[in-house]
Amino acid sequence: MAIGWYLVVSAMIFCIGAAGVLARRNPLVILLCLELMLNGANLALVAFARMWGGEDGQIFALIVMVVAAGWA
């Protein structure tokens, strides 16, 4: 499966999150949307890691999750 589709999904998730951060007023929802943006980025990281066959991207994604869990 081509990497393009993963990136499209990742970009969509990121944009939905960004739109939520900018548009919503409820702080809780803003935090949720931020989480969405992070997950979009995570998806891209993992996709790229798989494409290259390395583990750096996955480790990066894990760290992002840890940070996200930390402030959520």
Binding site: A18, V21, L22, A23
Partner: protein
Amino acid sequence: MTATTFAWLVLLCPLVGTVVIALGWNRWPGRSAGWIGTAAIAAAFGCAVVTLVSIRTRAPEHRELSSTLWNYAVTSGLDAKMQILVDPLSVFMITVVSGVSALIHLYSVTYMQSDRGFHRYFAYLNFFVLSMLQLVLAGNFVILIIGWAFVGAASYLLISFWYRRTTATRAGLKAFVINVVGDVGLVLGTFFIFKHTGTVDFLKVFALTPHVLGHDSTDLVVACLLLGVGAFAKSAQVPLHTWLPDAMEGPTPVSALIHAATMVTAGVYLIVRMHPLFEQAPTAADVTAIGGGLTLTVAATIALVVTDLKRVIAYSTMSQIGYMIMGASVGAYSAAMFHLMAHAFFKALLFMAAGSLIGAMAGVQSLDRMGGFRRVLPFTFVSFMVGGLALTGLPPFSGWLSKDDILAFLDHRGGGFEILGVLGYLGAFLTGLYTFRMIFRAFWGEPVEEARELEHGHLAHADVPRNPMTGEEEDTDIGFPGPGHYIAEREMPMKVAMGVLAVLALIGGLIQIPGVDLGIERFLSTTFADSHLVRSEPSTASSWVGLAIGAGAALIAITIAYRVWVAEPGTATRVRERLPALYTFLANKWYFDEAIDFLIVRPALTVGRLAGSVLERTVIEGLLTGGAVGAVRVGSAAVRRWQTGFVRYYAAAMLICLSGVALYFLISS
């Protein structure tokens, strides 16, 4: 102890004197500060004599010694050291300078004793001598420039010594400003030399110059001309001379010091010291020679009409320095130094005698008010006569042998320099005329009231002291001259100082007589061994012809002066009435002050005002300052609008910017 050690001591003595007098300024009782100052300079003179003797014991080719105490800076080729050069030339100079200065200090002890600034006076005086000795002993350009600037500063302090006199403070400023012009010339000239030779050490520069700078090359000529500007400003040569007559505002012994020993001779010394450079740049040497020739004539003509006693002597100094500059520029080095020495003796003597005369007149300096002092001031009269005859150049006085030594060299050199020689003889004639105009008017004729009073033993005393130039009323507090007036007839220190100088002015010339013994020339020959001009010395016979012409000119001048001012009084007035234009021209000193004012001061003022109104207001304040303020204001107003306080706006801005960055990298990759 070697010669250089004593040379360092020559510098140390006046330094210690300055510091000791200055630190204890209000604790030294009575005249002790004056005696300390005199002792310091006398000690310097003793050390100078020891240096002279010890350098004479060495073989002629080993008489050039350089000594360094410490380094100021050694960086990028510059080797600025605290360094002195002890050679026959500098030793000769320090002996003359410290010897004459010591006598002037001795004279000042009495002359200034009633002045409230007595301590300050001697601290300055010692500092002045220190500066001059440093200038003379300097072994490289850096030390020379420091001494040069010190001399300018010390002259400023002493000329405006009576600081509540507005004429004195103005004269001090004038001297300082013109001297700074010379300082700039000296520094720029040094730069040109340093640029090519890469060193400031005199001996290295002299050795390198012929190799790195071609004969009469542009840079060398420019460097020598700039050094010449420095010499002309310090030595009061046309057109940078206007400060010297005004410098008469200082106390009379200061005038003696400036004229005889410590200041105006510096320019002559500079040119003689730099003779290896000037010989390589004949164009520059010709310019300075012509400048000297012009000065000696201009100054002599002005001296014919000036009525202020001290100013007549001041113009005579300018004229005599003109001879020296001329001699130093054409290669008559030892003759120039000989005349420098003789001039130091008789000019210091003339000023001291003038001081005594002014004391008898209770501070009045105008020749119009003087007369008939011959009988009541016998000692002053004899001293003045000796000084005057030496200045005129009558045999066997020192000035006769020394001045005509220079002129004989000029005539012998040929190549157009005879014109300068003729100018010199004309100057000698004028010298006799103005000197004896001064003497006849002050000492002959009907005794004035002050002279008659003195006959009864009363020294004149001014009820209200007045400024001799403007006639303004003054008090005798600090910042003005003290209440006391002193004449040499009654004061031992003044008498001793004048007596010694009178003897020296009389017989000082005997150490160099053509055909008998050339003492100075022999002694200085080590310094001038590298010179190719010195070898063309005039023969003994032609020297004597020159001496005879000089003596003849002086005799004729004295005879004419006697007829005009003694035998047929009123002749001078008739001549003046017949030639009013010439008289006005001379009385206004050839309009040099006005010309400088018109050509330099006024344009500078106009440019300054223009810069103030246009450059400062419009460009600096309006454009630069105003522009910067405006840019910040507009910029901050624009940025302020983004500071909304809403997080979402910040997030949006961040997103947009980051997207932009990402886009940029996408496109560029």
